[in-house]
Symmetry: C2
Subunit: 329 residues, 2 copies
């Protein structure tokens, strides 16, 4: 078997493990549950999962170039430390790179989970020769990953690519982050649902009145279905999200001029129902000085993007010799 990197995608419920070979071909991943009993248990599960993956594929330590971990943050990526993970109890100041590389005898790279997913989609685009890509993940929140000239952009303080917190509406909806008018407040599945729910509760006429009465809440799928059935309120909320995503795409194109803007996350499961309106707003609002060079497309990898990108970042660090933790036992 060719040399591999191990990718680990740490989530609040599941940890995903999988391989990526030198040519960018991923293996079939598996999941283990995320222990809820504190940081040590989580790290041990990650070590056990990596060992299980190596056994399954009969990989010796020397067959694995590096391990990449995509984790929610905040992180100190360059030092390999997870500072905190709001959705996983007990993960505070965990020197994960040192712990995992010591246990496995393989160097480890830590990456922000959204950056990792973005880099996964970038790995999937490699056969096209693309070097510049921006990933927008539309789920509970709106996250992002930026690849410039083939490399993840982390920023000076490891807090770059927070694309959900670009201000797209001056003095707009207040966000938990302390800003107003963040993209996330208009274009995440959660807040799109909340906005619809608020309007419905305020008595706006809509078929979603029935949905709310029936289910006690409204989700983005309900909005899309109501919209397709001709509901005006649903259409307004959906279209507003697409418009603000269009503004975000214009601003990304003006700043970074990528080949692709890739839409992922739960909301992107709506496929063309979300892609086409975003594209339409993007092209309508985009400048006319050059043809629209940046293409807006859907993500391809779904839930596999995280482990593939984590392993891809590990490959890159390995090749550059910039891998963070080489303290082998």
């Amino acid at each position: 078997m060719a040399r591999q990197c191990i990718g680990i995608d740490l989530g609040g419920t599941l940890i995903k493990f999988g391989l990526l070979d030198e040519e960018g071909n991923p293996g079939k991943p598996f999941d283990l549950p995320t222990p809820q009993g504190g940081g040590d248990a989580v790290v041990q599960q990650m070590i056990d999962g990596a060992r299980k993956l190596m056994e399954k594929h009969k990989l010796a330590r020397s067959d694995v170039a590096a391990v990449g971990v995509g984790s929610p943050g905040p992180l100190k990526m360059s030092e390999g430390i997870i500072l905190a993970t709001p959705n996983i109890p007990g993960m505070v100041n965990i020197p994960i790179s040192a712990m995992i590389s010591a246990a496995l005898g393989i160097p480890m790279v830590l990456e922000n989970d959204a950056n990792a997913a973005g880099f996964g989609e970038y790995v999937a685009l490699q056969k096209t020769g693309i070097r510049h890509m921006v990933f927008l993940t539309l789920g509970t929140g709106v996250g992002g990953g930026i690849v410039v000239d083939g490399k993840v952009v982390r920023g000076a303080h490891d807090i770059g690519a927070e694309l959900g917190h670009m201000i797209v509406q001056p003095c707009g909806e207040p966000c938990n982050c302390g800003q107003c008018g963040c993209l996330e407040r208009y274009a995440s599945a959660t807040f799109m649902s909340l906005r619809a729910q608020r309007m419905v509760q305020d008595g706006a006429p809509s078929s979603l009145q029935e949905t709310l009465k029936h289910k006690g809440k409204i989700n983005s799928k309900d909005i899309n279905e109501a919209r397709k059935a001709g509901d005006a309120l649903a259409k307004k909320v959906w279209d507003e999200a697409a418009m603000y995503l269009g503004i975000a795409c214009v601003n990304i194109a003006r700043m970074l001029d990528p080949d692709r803007i890739v839409l992922g996350g739960g909301l992107a499961n709506a496929g063309d129902d979300i892609l086409l309106p975003v594209r339409e707003h993007f092209h309508r609002m985009n400048w006319k000085i050059t043809p629209p060079e940046t293409a807006v497309v859907l993500a391809k990898l779904g839930n596999d993007a995280g482990f593939i990108g984590a392993a891809g970042v590990a490959w890159q660090a390995y090749r550059e010799g910039s891998i963070q933790c080489l303290l082998l036992p």
Copy 2:
């Protein structure tokens, strides 16, 4: 004399020539007028200026590592071609890198003028160890330059860092570029003046009524002076520009997380009068999740940024061996 790169800053009125040594120390530059008689005359003036600079400093061909040219665009940077320069007649499809490197026997790198000025400010920050910087130039328009991890971000189609055309106001003021609500329409010296002039012509009470009657127009200095003397309209226009620049700074911080956002161009000559309000809006609107890591500061180099940055980009390309035109005669 230590080895040098030559920096050439091509402007509509003047061409500036100067040296930059390996440690990032610039020499004293000089200007030659920009010929208005077509592309060949402009290129010849650039060649003559470079030769004059070498003679003045007694530099042999082998003492010069490379030449960098900062030019208005659009450009094909990777191919070293100036496609057009709206403010210099006759510059259409000029293979400038090939022409200059053949004439001088020294390889040449072509860079966008705003990117070059941004990289100049980055060179000036090098003793601080900074690797991530965004430059905003506030003049006739609003331009930009982005440095990520020590390298200029050009984008996939050489049209990145067009920071003046970020949309900061959905459905805002229409821009010549075809977009609406561009930063440039609120925060450039030109458009700030136009906005004030429009309000004054519409009869808004302001001390600028007198200025307009007297001078036939209002410029950004007039607005700043009226503002400091307590004029409400002037205060509103100035503060609005600062507010939109604050939004731009938030969005830059969220996307790229730079160490510094550097304000340059004519409007930045107002010094603290523009810096402090921009900072205030930035800090007020910025998220509260982390302390404000990105510092907003004034540019240091004034009109020298362009030649220093062009030479800096040449040094970088020389060191990387990625210089575009090695077709020596």
